[in-house]
């Protein structure tokens, strides 16, 4: 059986085996749960002093954007020009590529 799996990864038998094993493992985890659990309307909602959570989750989402604030702040002299360089305009990126390629070619063919 292992030979079939190893020799031919795309065989249907291998796929069925993986599906059955995955289903078994999933059922094992599922059966560990509390059978008396009842899903109700508000269960699992975030607690905002009893108020209804807004539909737009971004309003209550605490982002991780500033986790690296100290790191980016310390390296701002290096990072700020890089951020400015990322204009989102394709012409700018092509311009940077042409300039870089020209510098590399000069280095490779003339200086060496």
């Amino acid at each position: 059986m292992i030979d079939i799996i190893l020799k031919d990864m795309w065989s249907p038998i291998a796929f069925i085996l993986v599906l059955v094993l995955t289903a078994l493992v999933a059922y094992m985890f599922y059966s560990l749960g509390n059978p008396a659990y009842k899903r109700t309307k508000h269960k699992g909602e975030p607690f905002i002093s009893g108020n209804a959570p807004p539909k737009d989750v971004r309003l209550i989402h605490v982002g991780g954007d500033n986790v690296f604030w100290g790191f980016t702040h310390a390296l701002r002299k290096y990072l700020d020009p890089l951020v400015k360089g990322h204009t989102g305009i394709l012409n700018d990126y092509v311009y940077w590529m042409v300039i870089t390629m020209a510098l590399v070619l000069i280095y490779v063919y003339i200086l060496i």
């Binding site: 509390n34 659990y37 699992g44």
Partner: protein, 147 residues
């Protein structure tokens, strides 16, 4: 829901004011002060219903608070016990039959909710502590029945 062994340990309590006059709330806080010091029994007031085993409801449940009370009840993980603190919460008290009241709370909660009443206007801190003790005994009895 089946009660776990965790209920033998510390009961964590979340307090909801559903329109109370604050007298019962002050008495609950008094139970936490060094004079009564419920934390020595492991009873702790927590900041979110999602950490709580016991919900303390004060007040007769005003119309504005009804949705919030239901939401907080459902957000509290099972198994849980509701303790209704004070006469207003138990019977709506002096606000009986008011147009602004949707309570008392036991008319709003589902049938399988475990509710205990601590009466008084306001309750005394000793009553609150006694109520938590009764909740403990009730939960133990409940678990014995489940076995």
């Amino acid at each position: 829901m089946k009660l776990t062994k965790t209920f033998d340990k510390a009961l964590w309590v979340f307090h909801v004011n559903s329109g109370s006059c604050n007298a019962c709330d002050i008495e609950i806080v008094a139970a936490l002060t060094p004079r009564y010091d419920v934390e020595r029994f492991g009873i702790k007031l927590v900041g979110s219903p999602r950490h709580a085993d016991v919900l303390l409801f004060t007040g007769p449940v005003t119309r504005k608070m009804k949705d919030r009370v239901m939401r907080v009840y459902e957000q509290t993980p099972d198994p849980k016990v509701v303790m209704v603190i004070g006469n207003c919460g138990s019977t709506t008290g002096v606000f009986y039959d008011s147009y602004a009241i949707d309570g008392p709370i036991d008319t709003l909660l589902p049938d399988d909710a475990h509710v205990l009443y601590v009466t008084g206007c306001p309750v005394r801190p000793e009553n609150v502590i006694n109520g938590v003790k009764e909740a403990w005994l009730y939960l133990e009895k409940l678990r014995g029945d489940d076995k």
